[in-house]
């Protein structure tokens, strides 16, 4: 982040040699390769490579796979559930099996994915108070706020207040159900289909399904 002084320095670089501000200091700090965690990760990775436990290629393939999982995968699943009751019934019973079959994916996981269906009576929201458990196989990398102590500690204590900060207000008679992902289950929220979307294609519906709607902190977008 440049200070006003620093940008002035850039604009007049050739005739302002007396300005000794250091506009790049903050960037150096952020990307410091000597950070403890960076060195630790590099050391462990190289050891695993050298000992033949896992190759560099396998690690990069896994990173590619992880990067290919984005909230777009979850959004397609939700949109299909909105238009296809048979798919939805199977999704609620055995999500990974039906998602792999219908979307041609090859998700394998020792964890159990549970789909939490929102209804007019129950609104679900997901947290992992102990760490950062998240349905990565369907939504990819969790957002920073999901892993932050602030969200993790507050959403179980004052969930309505936290949801209001996301712009989500629920009626008083709705059961706001916080699922704390404490063990081997990973939760995907199946939001309710927004009104006014009759006749929408699956693609148009999927565009309304945000990541936050599948965590439960927000509702799907309105058409």
């Amino acid at each position: 982040m440049s200070t006003p002084n620093a940008s002035h320095h850039h604009e007049h670089d050739h005739h302002d040699h007396h300005d000794h501000t250091h506009p790049h200091a903050a960037i150096e700090e952020e990307e410091n390769p000597l950070r403890y965690e960076y060195l630790l990760e590099t050391a462990i990775r190289q050891l695993l490579n050298e000992k033949g436990v896992v190759s560099a290629e396998q690690i990069h393939r896994q990173i590619d796979l992880q990067d290919s999982r984005t909230p777009a995968v979850g959004a397609k699943v939700v949109a299909r559930a909105w238009v296809d009751p048979v798919f939805k019934a199977r999704l609620l019973k055995d999500p990974i099996e039906v998602i792999n079959e219908v979307f041609g994916l090859d998700i394998t996981t020792p964890l159990k994915v549970v789909v939490l269906e929102n209804t007019p009576a129950v609104h679900n929201v997901v947290v992992c108070t102990l760490c950062s458990c998240y349905p990565r196989m369907l939504l990819g990398i969790p957002p920073a706020w999901y892993k932050a102590l602030d969200y993790r500690s507050r959403v179980v204590v004052e969930p309505r207040k936290v949801l209001a900060e996301f712009g989500t207000e629920l009626p008083d008679n709705v059961e706001l159900r916080v699922s704390d992902s404490t063990a081997d289950l990973r939760y995907l929220v199946l939001p309710m289909r927004p009104a006014g979307t009759e006749g929408f294609t699956e693609e148009q519906l999927a565009a309304l399904v945000t990541r936050d709607a599948m965590i439960g902190t927000a509702l799907p977008l309105h058409p």
């Binding site: 207040k161 059961e175 706001l176 704390d180 063990a183 289950l185």
Partner: protein, 111 residues
Amino acid sequence: MSADNHDTDVTKTWSAGTPVRVKSQPPEFHCRTPHYLRGMVGEIIEVAGRFRDPSLLAFNKPGLPMRTLYRVRFKQVDVWPDYNGCPTDTVVADIYEHWLDLITEDQHEHA
């Protein structure tokens, strides 16, 4: 590793609707039960299946015998005395059988 970490009966399964209390004693070894639920009374809403025991996996053991994992629902007003939401609100956690006790009449009296 002590054998008392294993209950003798690990095969029985409690059904949805069963009231349970989260064990409140400090857990032996690795426990994935959030502190805010220790000693709380809730209701099983789903039998999630059987998984390797995290309290043993944490110590590089095979995690056997497998343990039944339950989804247990608690009323927010029971968990937080000054809860500022609605009385209908709930919190659900995934808790293993050996970190739960069945509620008996006797325990109700001492609640």
